[in-house]
Subunit: 222 residues, 2 copies
Amino acid sequence: MRILYHIPLSPACRKIRLILAEKRLPFELMTEKVWEKREEFLKFNPVGTVPVLVEENGLAIPESYAISEYLEEAYPDTSLLGRTLGERVEVRRLVSWMEGVFSQEVTDKLLGEKYMKRFLRKGNPDGTAIRQGYTALYFYLEYLGWLAEMRIWLAGSFFSQADLTAAAYLSSLDFIGDIDWSRIPAVKEWYARVKCRPCFRSLLQDRISGITPPIHYADLDF
Amino acid sequence: MRILYHIPLSPACRKIRLILAEKRLPFELMTEKVWEKREEFLKFNPVGTVPVLVEENGLAIPESYAISEYLEEAYPDTSLLGRTLGERVEVRRLVSWMEGVFSQEVTDKLLGEKYMKRFLRKGNPDGTAIRQGYTALYFYLEYLGWLAEMRIWLAGSFFSQADLTAAAYLSSLDFIGDIDWSRIPAVKEWYARVKCRPCFRSLLQDRISGITPPIHYADLDF
């Protein structure tokens, strides 16, 4: 069976779970305590990060970007990148933005400071970073809202990796209660549509010891 | 004419310059003072970062990852990603590692603290970060050296984006005199081979006001 090594709240891991599920590729989830630097795991990815996907034939694919491109090339039937060069540029631009600037300026400063530091045994949360994270979050959510108002899906008229990536990042922040949906109606309407898709089910059922998500987290009609 | 908006010392921009040159695609370089948040430029990339490639037909492609994948799809003749799924996974794993962990733990802490902060008007260098950057640099260079000893090129027997990306990152650090090549003979031998390729010429001719590169920077026989 295909295995995805992951950490439940990691948005990059959630993105891969969503892509696999959207493409209807069965997989088993294995939580990897990356801070333990397990030797068997470092053989799959010397850098020691998750996600890592291991195919049934033994091929190990580390790194969110490498996995998502691999899945498009190996299983092209349900394309999540768009067809034309221009569409694919737009999808990858948005994926890159979420996994780059958004991840560093928002996720690392909220989820990172408040929870991942504890999981990864890296010290105490930094209050200044958390405040900067909230400011950046609502700044970027406005841009997401603008996209959601202008288009059917984030990258255009087609459902894509851009939607799954953005939804993965927001779902992690929603799990820790960091998103006030009433402030961003256009994003909420788009997110509700993604949340209803069958690929999203497993994310909504996640239970993590020590963190209770807000009630609306798993509610499709939030 | 195709235009690449860049900052000379940005490794991500250098990577795109190398890919364009290796694919023999003519382009014009335009330095973008990203901190000025020029309105015309924000139309190409709302996040305001470089590199951004603008094709002659007007298609604007922001983000290093989106540009390099676009160039492979639009101009597949000189493939820099490998042929099999496994080869492509390995190339993208290494690209992702350089642009992710290496960029954050090394480049941001050396080039970022010592020079980019000044260019981007973001305050004074942080000595602790710089020390952490040097430690991480030689830790990761050992891994690069191990790859260079085991294989003809970094991702295997074929020249790829992995070589161009790693060389781009090292060339920026070499420009500011941060690499002691005598400590890493295997990396030096590999880098000398990349440096000799015609695609590298323009990088070696870069002149940046206020920074004098070490004499060996442009020397092919360093």
